[in-house]
């Protein structure tokens, strides 16, 4: 048997090895002077620190702890308002979802990822598309995706709950709720359903150590999170989002068939970041996490004005994008190619007068493109 690793030695010293492995290690230690000596050193070093921590142990006078009494005090102080789970679920994701709504509408990617969220927040007036390799985060590596999601959600504090979207069939009602002038696709008649999401706001404080730890854990120690990130608070305010569903759509929102077209519109979210935050360096790290090489990420980030650009990550494989004229401005048409049972998907996105528009659906984009002329 070859010599034991530091990890094995330490785990053994701490009594955390399972019985069969512990026996094997014990046998090896009996016969290997080198490992026995190393083990003694590791144990001594650990013991040294353990002793230093002893004075931190609570004094007997600080114990016992009666959790029931503590809970009564807690209720007295914080009141009885424990939101129900459905509302809680909204509260954590409502703000994020509102801010990232347009990106999520495109959901070509296998899952919502850290890169999507971070990049999506940094947007205001212009569009840029960046093809990335989502498999670097999600496919076959869900543990890392979970770590990253947890890292984000741990640090998000929702300050304005978007609440449940209001569903209506009246354009007038929707206009009043939204607070801005809604566009419609006249060629399709009245929308089958209109959903108005609430206004949301959240902020998150970035923790460089934890972000770096996640990268280390994901085997990407080569990616360095810039020091300026630590402690920075990014605040996002997302206005009301309106989704107009035309054609044969399922009741709950997402386009369900080729005949369903979704026309979403939302005033640009506002994002506040401290002046010291190096957004470009952070975005470079994010793009590398999403599978881009360091050089490519650097080159791409130099072309983007991060203070005013909505960056939409799309998968490298199976999707394409191009600029198309729409509504008097240049829009971006993103398509996911059909394969197998997947009939394809498209999204046409443009920004005009501070409002972000998205026309999306399943299948090919021809029909949607032909409708642009009937925009009211």
């Amino acid at each position: 048997m070859s010599c034991l690793t530091e990890e094995t030695l330490r785990t053994h010293i701490d009594g955390e090895l399972a019985a069969p492995e512990a026996d094997t290690v014990q046998q090896h230690l009996r016969s290997c002077n080198t490992c026995r000596s190393r083990s003694a050193k590791v144990a001594a070093a650990a013991e040294q620190v353990r002793q230093k921590f002893q004075p931190l142990a609570p004094e007997p006078a600080e114990l016992p702890i009666d959790a029931a009494v503590a809970y009564a005090h807690y209720r007295q102080y914080y009141g009885d308002e424990i939101p129900n789970r459905a509302a809680w679920k909204r509260s954590i994701w409502g703000g994020v979802a509102a801010a990232c709504a347009l990106v999520l509408l495109l959901s070509f990617a296998p899952g919502r990822t850290w890169a999507q969220k971070v990049l999506a927040m940094l947007r205001v007036q212009k569009l840029a598309v960046v093809p990335v390799d989502f498999s670097a985060i999600s496919a076959g590596n869900t543990g890392n995706g979970k770590l990253i999601s947890q890292l984000i959600s741990d640090n998000v504090v929702v300050t304005m709950d978007a609440g449940k979207p209001v569903i209506t069939s009246s354009l007038e009602t929707a206009r009043e709720l939204a607070g801005f002038n809604l566009r419609t696709l006249d060629a399709l008649g009245l929308p089958q359903q209109i959903s108005v999401s609430g206004e949301g706001a959240f902020h998150m404080t970035l923790n460089r150590d934890r972000m770096q730890a996640v990268l280390d854990q994901a085997g990407r120690s080569d990616i360095q999170i810039p020091a300026s990130v630590d402690g920075s608070t990014v605040a996002v305010h997302a206005p009301r989002l309106v989704r107009l569903l035309y054609g044969a759509c399922s009741g709950n929102g997402a386009p369900s068939g080729q005949d369903c077209i979704e026309f979403a519109q939302v005033p640009s979210p506002t994002v506040s970041v401290p002046p010291s935050l190096d957004i470009t360096a952070l975005a470079e790290a994010g793009l590398q996490v999403a599978g881009m090489s360091a050089a490519d990420a650097h080159n791409f980030c130099q072309t983007v004005d991060w203070s005013s650009t909505l960056v939409i990550p799309i998968p490298q494989n199976g999707s394409a994008y191009r600029t198309v004229p729409v509504d008097g401005v240049n829009g971006t048409l993103i398509t996911a190619e059909p394969h197998g049972n997947f009939i394809g998907r498209y999204a046409l996105i443009w920004i005009k007068n501070g409002i972000i528009y998205s026309l999306s659906g399943k299948g090919q984009p021809d029909k949607a493109l032909s409708l642009i002329g009937s925009l009211n």
């Binding site: 955390e16 004094e59 809680w88 679920k89 150590d209 934890r210």
Partner: protein
């Protein structure tokens, strides 16, 4: 997972019972969260305030205990995070006040002499000083280990692989020794 029983209850009743579910979590984890915080900040009163804030934060960010079964890990991580923040924000004057309160109370409560208490207090403050200077995740790891969390619990709390916890502990302890020697070493070598 750390909170198997509580989360199984939550999954069995996905819509109602939020209050009792939250209470069950509070009762199950409060003691350990408070002990961790006392260990960290040294003042029970301050630790209680912080613990309440941690549970309040949990109540607002239900994702962690409704949709995952790692509520214990989330609580330990959030508590140590908040505790380190508090430690970093505490002025030296306040630390002396806390020390004086602890000194008086401990002197009344046990048989140890005033000199022993004073030395213990000095040791405690030395460790707190080092923890304030260390990388947060390493300080969290050492604190949780000192409170008796298993490798599995540590891995869940910090979102790392259980197979790497030993190495992380070795590294964190090396960092601790380095900072300790630099900050405290002259008067109390490690």
């Amino acid at each position: 997972m750390i909170s198997e029983s509580v989360d199984e209850r939550a999954n069995a009743d996905p819509v109602s019972g939020a209050q009792s579910h939250f209470e069950a979590i509070f009762l199950q984890y409060y003691g350990r969260v408070l002990r961790l915080l006392i260990r960290l900040v040294g003042s029970r009163a301050q630790a209680e305030d912080l613990a309440n804030e941690v549970f309040w934060k949990l109540s607002r960010q239900s994702e962690h205990w409704v949709l995952t079964s790692n509520v214990g890990g989330w609580l330990y991580r959030t508590a140590t995070y908040a505790g380190i923040d508090a430690l970093r924000a505490t002025t030296h004057r306040k630390q002396y006040e806390f020390a004086a309160i602890r000194h008086t109370r401990n002197h009344e409560a046990d048989e140890t002499g005033p000199l022993e208490n004073m030395l213990r207090e000095e040791d405690r403050q030395s460790v707190q000083l080092v923890l304030r200077k260390m990388k947060r995740t390493q300080a969290q790891l050492l604190l949780m280990r000192a409170d008796g969390l298993s490798y599995k619990e540590l891995a869940e709390a910090l979102g790392v692989a259980v197979t790497g916890v030993g190495t992380l502990l070795n590294r964190a302890e090396a960092e601790f020794r380095k900072h300790y020697s630099k900050l405290i070493g002259k008067r109390n070598p490690l």
